[in-house]
């Protein structure tokens, strides 16, 4: 049976060309194996071989125009080699080399439809940029861990080349890509939550199944100093809509928002508006829509000339189970619309 074929990418240092002083060198192609490309082959026990090694200086490949200029040659060399897998690195915690490896893997996978794998330290800046769509083996922080890290790269590369099913991140040793799918575990949730606590209590290593992510900081807008000069808009995530919900906003997991005209209205009346929110008892809100969109109070302030005007439209959606990405999209769309309308301030009521 013919051996499977791998094409390998390394930088100038691992190719033996030189260190930092040679980081500007361009693309080199080698038929003979070098560095980790030499070390990895015996790990495949004759099932796969490295048929070509691509080398480039870290500075060169990380300069966008230069990278663009060598892409046609990269494409030609890789396609000619007819590889079953493309491998880069491992790059450990080297920032430029990490980005180069991940960028190459991403390109080869997406543009050439050839599967790829690389490896690096989990804090390498390239991880955040490329991990979502690429297999990046979790390695040690420095190259002194090459002996530990390279077999993991070799194992996953061979598995992918053989078109075997790739298991979950912790089993295969790659950094979690963020992709998560429902499956049935061999143990119940109750058993696992108990075992997890026992591991903590008995000081054994433990692994959370749901990784926690911090909330990002949103810089506040500049303060409005003279309220009497600005038009103010009203926004709610409390689900207020014209009765009958004409735009079919969803009461939970909303993906859209509504914008409704209140020009000339003196109040928002019961029966004309209602709340469809799926996360609280909406009786009070539907009985008095001003609890969500305080048009009554705002018109008072307008009459007293404490604000310039109330913006004649209100914006609305349901904030319940609404995912953050969708919320961001809705938020920026509303903000853009407000800016274009000359609105300088808004009140958002949340429930």
């Amino acid at each position: 049976m013919a051996k499977l074929r791998a094409v390998y990418y390394i930088n100038q240092f691992y190719a033996g060309i030189g260190g930092e002083e040679m980081a500007d060198t361009g693309l080199h192609i080698y038929e003979e194996k070098k560095g980790p490309a030499l070390g990895i082959e015996p790990m495949w026990k004759g099932e796969m071989e490295v048929v070509k090694v691509l080398v480039c200086g870290d500075n060169f490949i990380n300069t966008d125009e230069k990278f663009e200029s060598i892409l046609p040659q990269i494409k030609k060399e890789i396609l000619e080699a007819q590889p079953d897998i493309f491998i880069a690195g491992p790059a450990f915690n080297a920032g430029r080399y990490g980005v180069a490896c991940a960028k190459m893997c991403d390109y080869v996978k997406k543009e050439l439809n050839i599967p790829s794998v690389t490896g690096m330290w989990w804090e390498n800046p390239a991880v955040g940029m490329y991990v979502k769509d690429n297999y990046i083996i979790s390695t040690t922080e420095t190259a002194s861990g090459m002996r530990k890290s390279l077999p993991k790269v070799a194992a996953l590369a061979l598995k992918i080349a053989k078109k075997e099913e790739i298991g979950p991140a912790y089993k295969e040793g790659y950094l979690p890509t963020g992709h998560r799918y429902n499956e049935y575990h061999e143990k119940t949730g109750a058993r696992r939550v108990t075992e997890l606590l026992l591991d903590k209590l008995y000081h054994r290593p433990y692994r959370t199944e749901v990784p926690l992510r911090g909330f990002e900081q949103v810089p506040p807008a500049e303060a409005v100093c003279s309220m009497e000069d600005v038009q103010i808009a009203l926004i709610t995530t409390g689900g207020l809509v014209p009765t009958g919900n004409p735009d079919k906003l969803k009461q939970a997991f909303a993906v859209s928002y509504g914008k409704y005209n209140m020009e000339g209205l003196k109040s928002l009346d019961k029966g004309v508006y209602e709340s469809i929110h799926g996360g609280y008892d909406t009786t009070d809100a539907s009985n008095d829509p001003h609890r969500l969109i305080p048009l009554d109070g705002m018109l008072e302030l307008e009459k007293e000339k404490r604000i310039k005007a109330v913006f004649p439209y209100f914006y609305t959606t349901c904030g319940v189970g609404t995912n953050v990405e969708t919320s961001k999209e809705m938020g920026s769309s509303i903000a853009e619309d407000l800016k274009n309308s000359g609105v300088r301030a808004a009140i958002l009521t949340s429930t």
Binding site: I166, P168, A169, P176, T177, G178, H179, R180, Y181, N182, E183, Y184, H185, K187, T188, G189, A190, R191, R192, V193, T194, L196, L197, L198, K200, L201, Y202, Y206, T208, E209, V210, P211, L212, R213, G214, F215, G239, G244, N245, K248, L249, K250, Q251, F253, E274, S275, I276, H277, G278, G279, Y280, D281, T282, T283, A285, S286, G321, N323, E325, T326
Partner: protein, 440 residues
Amino acid sequence: MKMDKKLTRCYYDVKDVKFGSEMSLEDGVLTVSKETLKEEVRPLLKAVKSVDFEIVKPGENTRIIHLLDTLQPMIKVEGEGNQYSGYFGDPLMTGSGRTNLLSNLTVMESAALPWDESSASSGLLYPRDAILDMTGPIAGMTPFADTFNLVILYELNEGKSSIEYDNEIRNIGIKTASCLAKVTEGHKADREEVFSVDEVNSELPNVVLVWNSQNQGPYSNTFIYGHPIDNLVPTLIHPNEMMDGCVVSGNYVWPAFKVPTYLYVNSPILLELYKEHGKTINFRGVIFGRSHNPSNWHKTRCAQFAVKIAQYLEADGLIMAWEGGGNAAVDGMLTIQCAEKHGIKASTITFEFGGADGTEGILLVDDVPEADAVISGGSIEKPYTIPDMDRVVGGDVLRLNKESGGYFPPSNKALAFEQTTHFYLSGNQSGASRLFAEEY
């Protein structure tokens, strides 16, 4: 005085169920007399016009819809109080003596509660259609695809209030579950098991279960000894009390996140902690509170109270579990944070978001840095298509999307869902199922 509280559970394994003229239990075959049950509940009927019953068996190509609560048929035969104490009697302390259980059998309530304003409040507080499939891709989300299920079908009188429907449906469910278990009297149990946390081994770490249940109004409620948990601050209950039914569910608003009474009585986490009691841990009790506390002030107080009780019990660790969605997650996370800050280690289980492939947005509504041991109950944002079914118990049409005027597809046909929110217990908040989201 040292606590002396031992509960003997006597299990009567149900191997088959059929209808017949007399109630009986012979060699594991339960014969159910509809007439006997109807006679038993007849004095209760006011908001409910009539009841009927259907039997659903494991492996059947069957769907159950409009599903409300699920109960464990059981009867207290020795010791203080009744099964489901506080209902049909005084709220006497339970958890000691003997309780007979028909194991492998549930009682389910199915009713198409009215959607109109007078009986079902708007917004959150209306029963969303709950779907349970005995086979197919969503069967594993519920423990009840493996049990015999006696489904009570309720025909309702018009014009009653949500509270009237709700109370009566629950009372009929409890009455039915109790009446069924009477057939065990005079029979020898298949198995017996003694539950006690009296003995505390000073060599072992102390562990408590902290459980917060939903309480936001009619159809979104939980009852302790027969009374809603409005304004409840966390309190201490004995695991045996919970097993005897001191907590009853009346929560139908989000089928994915609810915890039915059956899973309080047979709480999977509680039973796991019992398995470890005396071996790896001392199980010291259940700290029971309400989730969905209305303000940050209430949430903080709830978390602090729970941890204070855990401290009294000299807890080294706790498992945090809750019923409900994002609001409840905040309560749970605050409790974990407070516990860890006071040197009590915590783990928890929750459903997650993340969109169809897991990469959209955040996974949890809320998290704290101290929550570093979180079990996945599966993602509710995964698309599923439920298949055609030969038989549907509960009604001919599903009732979906009330806020958009309603959508009523035939209940026996295949249907695609973007999320799992209508699938009974798919949020896996009690840890009953094996559903989880794997990380790729």
